[in-house]
Structures are given as structure tokens and as C-alpha cells.
């Protein structure tokens, strides 16, 4: 696989049953992708204004993946979300104010200032915050899936990782263990052509999706810039896992459109490659498709954009108004006093709107009260 193969990305390996997505779903997909784009743009400008301590990372160009994948999940499914996947947090119900506050190290950020970047998971929404070491969360997702399997619950764990992370031994341990135990887990691989500055050809000699069979699990390759293709592939994998069919590796071909972090000018990326993928921007192309294929009016699409921008703007104000944490908090919380369950996340896909669609056997666990800036401000 060389860089130029990027243009040979396959289409959706799983054909989408068009009935799965309603018109409202499609609007939501566009809305969440836009929210990710706009929120990250806002965060980047806060970073440039010196309001974000440390460093800054975003997932520009990869919005279709986290949004499309998370959209396929039920409330009681569980996620480990990675550093390019802000959209998945939004789909689960995290609001941009808490994301921005987290980046700024404020008391109302998801981690209350304990951790930064996208190193967070909202417990109240069924998410476990990632660690930096990649791809460690794949093994944690396995563990959640193992618990679900042991208890016979029709639930699924999902996690993301970049293609660079597949070189790490923990990736292999995760695939192998999931394959042996046929765990209800979905692995979403985001091949954005680079790991920091390292191109695909220095990461592996054969594309990682080709390895799935060697673990006894199916590997599916999709166009990671097509949100419906991602949704279709992940939806199929989730259903398979939920039905006891075991894990799936879904490789999403995409491109990291920004530097590894805001400090990285991407001098190592050929400009043609960027241009080629810029033309395939997941948000632009989905908006165009909504107009052309699904009968959306231009105003509708524009309204989504305008509403999201206004909303993110308000969120930024709230985040900026949030205080820095009390220093004494730094010395608290190393140890837990008791275990508490994760709460359930939002599941905006219409497939979960009707109670009949929900897995009957799933007992409901009350979500622990999760802090939100809204609540605080109220």
C-alpha cells in the first residue's frame, strides 16, 4: 500500500438498506458532523488565543467516521472514543461546552481539569476516556464486551483506533482475544494515511484490514469519508455482534486533513494528497448528496450549518465562563470509594426511537448524575 493507493479507496463494503435511515436521521448525521467541525474550529482558535494549555489535536476530515459509527449504537452500548472522534462524543450526548471547557482545563470540562485534549469519556453517557497509549482502549473494549457476553446481554462495545496504532502489540492481543472469545465488540480502524509523520508504508507491509481473517473475524473496508457507508458497515457489525456473531474490524479509509497536532505544519504530506482528499470532504459531499439524492432544500442544509454555528458559539461562551478548578482537587480522587455503573448514552438514530426496537433483555441501569455546564449554569 503506498500513498497513491489512497485514491483507490473502496466503496461501502456493506450495502445500506435505505430504509434504515430516515430523513431526520440524515439531517442529524449532517448536524453532528458539522458540530464536530465547528467545535474543533472553535477550539483551535481558542488554542491560538492561548486559552488552551498544552497541545491541540483535531479530527478534521474524519468527521464521517466517529459520527457514522456512533450513530449505529444503542443507549446501553459502550464506547471508548479516540482522539480524532469528537463526533462520537456529541452523538452520545456530550455538549460542545464541556468539550471546550475540557480543552481549556476548566472545572466544567468532562474531566474537571484532570485530563485534557480528547482524553475524556463521559461516564454518564456510557463512555470510557481514552489513554494516550495506543491502542490500549481496544483491550478495555474487549473487557466490556466480555462482561456483556458473560451476562448474556445483547449489548456491544465499540472502539476506534488509527492505522498507526495497529503496529502496537496490544492491537494484536485485542484482535486475537476478541476472535477466540467471539466478543460482541466492533473495532473501527481509521486509516488516515499517517501516524503523526509516519506514512502507511513505514507502518505496515500489508493493510491491516487484511489481517482480520487471521484472527478469525471479518474485515470490512469502507470509504471513511462517506458517513452513510460508515454507518452501514458499523450497523451491520453491531447487529452481528449483538446477535452473538462476534467481532468485526471495519477499516475506514480517510485522510487526516490537519497536522498531527496544531504544532505540526505537515511538511511531510504531499500537497496533491491533501488536495485530492479536500475534494472529498465528508461534510461538503454529504450536504451535496442530501440536496441531490434525498431532496433536501438548500435552506435546510444551510439552516443546519447556521444553527450549529450559533449553538457552538453559545457553548464557547459557557466554556469560557467556567472557572479553573480548585488546586486542592489535584490531590483528590486517586482512589475510588465505590464502584458505580456507567450511564446510558444518547442514541439519536431513529432505529432506537421505538421501544420495540430495544433489546428486550436489557435491564435498565440508571445513569449516574453527570455534570453538565447547563445544569451548573441553571
Amino acid at each position: 500500500m503506498t500513498l497513491s493507493d489512497a485514491s483507490a479507496v473502496m466503496g461501502a463494503a456493506v450495502p445500506l438498506d435505505p430504509a434504515l435511515l430516515t430523513r431526520a436521521d440524515r439531517a442529524e448525521l449532517l448536524r453532528f458532523m458539522t458540530m464536530m467541525r465547528v467545535a474543533e474550529e472553535r477550539a483551535l482558535s481558542l488554542y491560538k488565543q492561548g486559552k488552551v494549555p498544552g497541545s491541540f489535536y483535531d479530527g478534521r476530515g474524519q468527521e464521517a467516521i466517529s459520527v457514522g459509527a456512533a450513530f449505529a449504537l444503542s443507549p446501553r452500548d459502550r464506547l471508548c472514543i479516540l482522539h480524532r472522534d469528537l463526533g462520537a462524543h456529541f452523538v452520545r450526548g456530550v455538549t460542545p461546552d464541556r468539550y471546550l471547557a475540557n480543552y481549556m482545563g476548566r472545572a466544567d470540562g468532562v474531566t474537571g481539569g484532570k485530563d485534557g485534549n480528547l482524553h475524556f469519556g463521559d461516564r454518564a453517557r456510557g463512555c470510557v476516556g481514552m489513554v494516550s497509549m495506543l491502542p490500549d482502549m481496544a483491550l478495555v473494549a474487549n473487557g466490556m464486551a466480555l462482561a456483556m457476553k458473560m451476562r448474556g446481554e445483547p449489548r456491544v462495545a465499540l472502539t476506534f483506533f488509527g492505522e498507526g496504532s495497529t503496529a502496537n502489540g496490544q492491537w494484536h492481543e485485542a484482535m486475537n482475544f476478541a476472535g477466540i472469545q467471539r466478543l460482541p465488540v466492533v473495532f473501527v480502524l481509521e486509516n488516515n494515511r499517517f501516524a503523526y509523520s509516519t506514512p502507511n508504508e513505514l507502518e505496515f507491509a500489508a493493510d491491516p484490514v487484511e489481517r482480520a481473517e487471521g484472527y478469525g473475524l471479518p474485515g470490512v473496508e469502507v470509504d471513511g469519508n462517506d458517513v452513510e457507508a460508515v454507518f452501514a458497515a458499523v450497523h451491520a457489525a453491531v447487529e452481528r455482534a449483538r446477535a452473538g456473531g462476534g467481532p468485526t474490524l471495519v477499516e475506514c479509509q480517510t485522510m487526516r486533513m490537519h497536522g498531527h497536532g496544531a504544532h505540526d505544519d505537515m511538511g511531510y504530506v504531499p500537497p496533491e494528497l491533501l488536495a485530492e482528499w479536500e475534494a472529498r470532504d465528508p461534510i461538503q459531499s454529504y450536504a451535496a448528496r442530501l440536496l441531490e439524492e434525498f431532496g433536501f432544500a438548500a435552506e435546510e442544509v444551510e439552516r443546519i450549518d447556521a444553527e450549529v454555528r450559533a449553538y457552538v458559539g453559545e457553548c464557547a461562551e459557557r466554556a469560557l465562563a467556567s472557572p479553573l478548578p480548585e488546586p486542592s482537587a489535584a490531590l483528590e480522587g486517586v482512589f475510588a470509594d465505590r464502584w458505580e455503573p456507567l450511564g446510558d448514552g444518547a442514541a439519536p438514530w431513529s432505529g432506537w426511537a421505538e421501544p420495540g426496537d430495544r433489546p428486550a433483555a436489557a435491564p435498565s441501569v440508571p445513569p449516574p448524575p453527570g455534570p453538565t455546564i447547563e445544569r451548573r449554569a441553571a
Binding site: R123, V128, V131, F335
Partner: protein, 321 residues
């Protein structure tokens, strides 16, 4: 009460907790049908089924990582490292994922990692290590190291019920050589409380794990007024009990089988040197393994690990100071 070996007490503690709480399960290499390298889980697969006594592939990060995820989802996993030494292969998941999740995210991770540790039987450089100090340099992990059968059972139960990741160091040298009265049925010993294993007024030997019976044997043999404090928990450390005993006797020897540099003995010595300085009547001494890998051949291994004679000698020196 029944007389059990340290090994039997661990099995008993684990079995009792698995009967009490069906979210408790074990995972590790060869622990199912085979019952584990040391047979701690012998018969468990029959009683609890193979799902709750899960044979994993040879992959320690996978074991600790799966335990972390399962713990988050409400299970109470007990991992077995086949030997404590193999924790180096699951180190990242332990110190970076499990240890830090509560501090970072408010996420409790109730898991136990059982670590058959220690040497003295020609296990060589990879089957004899005592890795506890690594864990103390990874905030978020609790660490216990029982010296008696009763404590082995009671501390294991507490470790399983604790909402945090706990490293449970079980010394292989004690497995079949230590035997004492162990309460039947459910039994817990609180984490973080040291135990005065022998009262005395002239010298305190602070020890844990395999160093405790060694200290007791030395004290008996010397017939001196030696106090032996068994730490039991290394994190949290019972600083009160340590300082109280140090202040009482004014002379302290800290003994453990792990290597010396930056070991638990160093931490205890530093604590005493800072907090009990005014009550000291002599230097704070340590008796530990030398800072070398643990060699295989018996005369070499004996040279490296603390022996009874070394303990007696160290006590005598301090008493005479």
C-alpha cells in the same frame, strides 16, 4: 478455624468470594482445566464453569485490559499472572489504564492482579522477582503482600471487594511453607493496616511477605526484645503503625526480599528519617536482596536473597549500636 497453608488460604478466599458474589471471576493462563501453575484455582472450573475461570491466551496486556473493561462494566475480575515477573508484559495496561482511570475520569476499576512472586527455589531471573515497588511508583494502584495464611485469605477478599485495582503479591516461598489458623467462610482483613507480629521494645523489624517469617525466626533465635511489624499493605502504607513502632523502639531494620534501590524499604526508611528522626537511637538499616537479577544456582541465589543469618546479623548489629 482451620489450619491451612498460605496457598490453600488463597484458594479458599477466592472460592469464598466467588460463591458470595457472582460478578467475581478469574482470568489468566492455564487457570481453568489445569487449575493454574500453582493450582490455586484447582477445581474452580468444575465448580464455577469455564466462563468464570477463563483460560486466556499468552498475553498479559490482554488479561489486564480485559479485566479493566469487565470491571468498569460491573464485574470483579481477578487476574492471575502465571508468575509476578510477567507483569512487565502487562505493565502498560496496569499503570496507564487501570491505575489512572479513577483520578482522570472518576471511573472505579475494581480488579485484582494476583502476582505469584519471590524466589528461593532456583526459579532464576524471570521467576523470582518481587515487583511491588514498581506499583508504588504508579499512583492509583493498591498493593498488598500477606505473610500469613489468614492474611492471605482476608486481604484477598478485601482486595476483591475494593473498588480499585489491587496488586496482590503472593509469595511462592510461603505457598506451602506457611500454615496457620484461617477463619472459615467469609473473612476480610482491611487494606492499609499493619500488624504487630511480635511485640518488642528494643528494635523494630519492619517487614512484609517472606521477610516476616524470617524476622520472626531471627527474633526467636536471638531471644531479644524485638518487635516485628508486618506491613501487610504497601499502598496504602500504615504510616501510623510504622512511626509508632519506630518511636517506641528507636531502632529500625526494614527487611524485604525485593532488590534494594528504590524499594519499599527505601520508602519506609525515608518516612522514618523524616518523621521519627528525633526518636531514633541508631541508623535506619535495610536488609534486602542485592541489586542484581536473581540468579538460578542455589549458592548464588542464597548470596543474593536475605537469609536467616543475615537477618540475625543485622538485628544484632542494630541492637548493639
Amino acid at each position: 478455624m482451620a489450619e491451612l497453608t498460605y496457598l490453600e488460604a488463597i484458594s479458599d478466599g477466592l472460592r469464598t468470594e466467588m460463591r458470595r458474589d457472582e460478578s467475581v471471576f478469574c482470568l489468566g493462563e492455564d487457570i481453568g482445566a489445569f487449575g493454574g501453575a500453582f493450582k490455586v484455582t484447582a477445581g474452580f472450573a468444575e465448580e464455577f464453569g469455564p466462563e468464570r475461570v477463563l483460560d486466556t491466551p499468552l498475553a498479559e496486556n490482554a488479561i489486564v485490559g480485559a479485566a479493566t473493561g469487565a470491571a468498569i462494566e460491573g464485574m470483579r475480575p481477578v487476574c492471575e499472572m502465571q508468575f509476578a515477573d510477567f507483569i512487565a508484559c502487562g505493565f502498560d495496561q496496569l499503570v496507564n489504564v487501570a491505575a489512572k482511570l479513577h483520578y482522570r475520569q472518576g471511573q472505579s476499576v475494581p480488579l485484582v492482579v494476583r502476582l505469584p512472586s519471590g524466589g528461593g527455589f532456583s526459579g532464576g531471573p524471570f521467576h523470582s522477582q518481587n515487583p511491588e515497588a514498581w506499583f508504588l511508583q504508579a499512583p492509583g494502584l493498591k498493593v498488598v503482600a500477606p505473610a500469613t495464611a489468614a492474611d492471605a485469605k482476608g486481604l484477598l477478599a478485601s482486595a476483591i471487594r475494593d473498588p480499585n485495582p489491587v496488586c496482590f503479591l503472593e509469595h511462592k516461598g510461603l505457598y506451602r511453607h506457611v500454615r496457620d489458623e484461617v477463619p472459615e467462610g467469609e473473612y476480610t482483613v482491611p487494606l492499609g493496616k499493619a500488624r504487630v507480629a511480635r511485640e518488642g521494645g528494643e528494635l523494630t523489624v519492619i517487614a512484609y511477605g517472606s521477610a516476616v517469617p524470617l524476622a520472626l525466626a531471627a527474633a526467636e533465635a536471638l531471644e531479644e526484645d524485638i518487635e516485628v511489624l508486618d506491613l501487610r499493605s504497601l499502598c496504602p502504607l500504615d504510616t501510623e503503625a510504622i512511626l509508632a513502632s519506630a518511636r517506641k523502639t528507636g531502632k529500625v531494620l526494614i527487611a524485604h526480599e525485593a532488590t534494594r534501590a528504590c524499594g519499599v524499604g527505601a520508602e519506609v526508611a525515608a518516612l522514618i528519617g523524616a518523621e521519627a528522626f528525633e526518636d531514633l537511637d541508631g541508623p535506619i538499616r535495610r536488609l534486602t536482596a542485592a541489586d542484581v537479577p536473581i540468579p538460578f544456582s542455589p549458592p548464588l541465589e542464597q548470596e543474593v536473597l536475605p537469609q536467616l543469618d543475615d537477618m540475625k546479623e543485622a538485628c544484632r548489629e542494630l541492637l548493639a549500636y
